[in-house]
Amino acid sequence: MPHACYILYGASLTVAVALALGTLLVRALELDLRRQEEPLVALAAGAACLSQLVFVAATLGVARRGVFQAFGLAVVAAALASGLHRPRGDALPALPRFWKRLVLILAAPFTLLYFFNAMAPEMSPDGSAYHLGLVARYLRNHGFQPLTTNMYGNLSQGIEMLYLFAFSLGRHSAAALVHFAFLAALPPAMLAYGRRFGLGPAAALGALFVFLSPVVGQDGTTAYIDVAVAYLLFVLFYLVQIWDQERNERLVALIGLLAGYCYAVKYTAFIGLIYAAGFIAWRLRRARRPLLRPLATLGLCAAVPIVPWVAKNWIWLANPFSPFFNRWFPNPYIHLSFEQEYLHHMRNYIGLRSHWEIPLEVTLRGTVLCGLLGPLFLLAPVGLVALRRQTGRRLLAAGLLFGLPYAGNIGTRFLIPPLPLLALAMGLPLASRRVLAAALAVAHGLASWPDILGLYCDPNAWRLVKIPVRQALRLEPEESWLTRKSPPYPIARLLEDATPPGSRILTFNQVPEAYTTREVLVVYQAAFNAVLGDILWSAIIPEYPPQRRLTFRFPSTSLTALRLVQTARGGPDHWSVGELRIFLGGRELPRRPLWRLRARPNPWDVQLAFDNSPATRWRSWQTLSPGMFLEVEFPRPQRVDRVAVECSRDQYRIRLRLEGRLPSGQWRPLAEVPEETELPPPLGLRRAAVYELKRRGVSHLLVWDEDFGAEDFRKHAVVWGVTLLGERNGARLYRLD
């Protein structure tokens, strides 16, 4: 079967199974949905069910192509046999002909644009790096395995579970087409909402505003997940409104399942559960109806998709909400400093001089915040007029709530989840002025078409640029297109071609892991990787290796434990200790296996301060706070008269105190102020760093020319003990010898 057929087969079977499961659920609950509503709700509900089943398969280690295919075909066959494909229910009121034609005329070319882009080889940065990188990994391993070196693997991946199903059959583009299915279903869902609640023209306008928006089209045609999140949140809102109209208790169960699935898809979409619970509680309270049973139903059904992801992280990562909340759930896998820096970067994109630039950036420019909504959304304040109507207030309140996570990440695509609600609110006042509204929709369509978009947006804006028919149909081979259009792709292929299976490659930037089977460790993506980066940089950055010796001298004392306490507070310094040496009578005490070493924070790296390597150091990985300590406990009382701390110079603010525990069990200060001496730069640091990397299983190093230290690797490869294996698009691959 030609490649293109596999892609369509993989995506179609995935969507068909989701629809079948969803329809089965909707009909089992005997919900009174209209004919046009049922498949739209079924897609969301079925996605939740299929995602859950794929999670179970991945947990059991049976995530295989054959398993998915057999299951999928069986489900579809059973659905057809039982007549699930036959529409049921009354039809919604028809959309006025004018609006119907407007939607069809404007949406049709964009549907083609989006379909062919979704089917073309997948090359989106995050899609090919981790959304599908993780999916490919799960498929190789036939399921989940503890993954502690990639923080993206710690996020909930409810949509990626659908991608896993599709990827197993049609590879990368099949996954992107599954996302496209949510994009294609979003306008019909908005129209159905409008038709049910008597807002047809407004819904037609809102649907066009969203569907034609450049960032929605770009995102929804890749293996990202934002449009799927928007779809799920919108269907959740829609169902809540139906519940408010009908007060069908069985609907609460479905709302709960969908709200929980929102969390399973994206942590920040947890806001959907808050919305559903809050709205239902508010309406029941106003009607003086009992709250407990509906809210318990909602909570229990929501727990079904939530608990597996929480449990997975709890069991493997000691943090149910990893990679966040590490202060409350300290663990060896994500540093607190990383979490803080990550959140800071998400709120402050590089290149954005002021938050006042956001409106123009997200509507007209599209480079710094990665994508643009289109200039039409400069008129978004028009939506405030909708506040005059109850429907408008509900749309805007839900939109505001769903938009709250945007404060945590100001990238344009993080505006997609609340966009359908905002667009509907904009449509409400405009729909009554038909000509103006149609003109706006046409102008939005023209302004969003790739050829015209390129005339005014930033040249590097994240957007679709053409209809790649030949590439989508694989008339041009995938390899050729990706090599021409995706600079990181050849780098992934270099890893595949130049390294043996099982290689572990350390690098500083993400690579399209979906196109390599090698294990890639990106320095910022996990604590383990960050320590590797710290080791490597210790050989290059003069402030990193131990060049300060702080010596505490005191009368010889018999002790059962020693504790080095840090007493200063504040950033940006982290506390670190290269080596902690203990002496008696001018002789360093050998480190006995029965010594017990402790540290707070970051107890898991304490051995790095006792390994006698100049390339490693224990590090707090958080800013200074009083009470941080390193502790050595002796198996029996030990006389000590001197302690030397060898440490780096990148921690000017630390204040240290030495305490000892007497045989009586009492702690007492031994010395307050250490003598400080300078140490020469250690010899053999580069080799020592490479040795430490190899001890941790790293076999190769991938360095971009713009990476810090790239020139040092080029010039001193022999000194490092590395061999250049190849170079692609400004990235060099070294083998650690």
Binding site: I315, R591, R592, L594, W595, Q607, F610, N612, E678, V719
Partner: protein, 177 residues
Amino acid sequence: MARLGPILPALGLLLAGCTGIPDTYAPPVQRRPLTAPEPSPLTHFIAMKDAGAEAHFISGVSRHLEGGAWRWLEPRAELMFRLESLGHLRFVMEFAVPEITFAQRGPVVIAISVNGRLLERARYEKGGEYRFEKAVPAGWLRTHLNNYVTLEIDKPWVAPQDGARLGFILKSAGFLE
């Protein structure tokens, strides 16, 4: 939120407590032997201001630290260093030939020898601050014994005040990667 304050950390402890990740460790495998019984005061590189610098002087280096950073050398000076590894090392020296000495002695040649082998004979035509560095063949060096470096200038400068015969000014010297 205030009510959640004590609950969330407690929940965190409860959850984290179930994972079985140890927080107490034994000392790991030592990457290098400890410097027992008494660590050598010699290192591979010294700045003249370092507290332990004098331990590296064999002869010809002034005992007086000038300006908190440099020392005069006699026309022939000898220093010693201790190395932990031998590969890819350069002998590095930061020094100065004072301008005032050129009026008396003109251009100078400094010969640098490592363990008795001539590493370089460098000529300096004018006064100023210099940095010399040159790779040293690993075969010239040793790890378990001291390494000796001789710095010899061809023409001494005789100080007009006290008639002392001097070579040049040294700020730092030793072996670096």
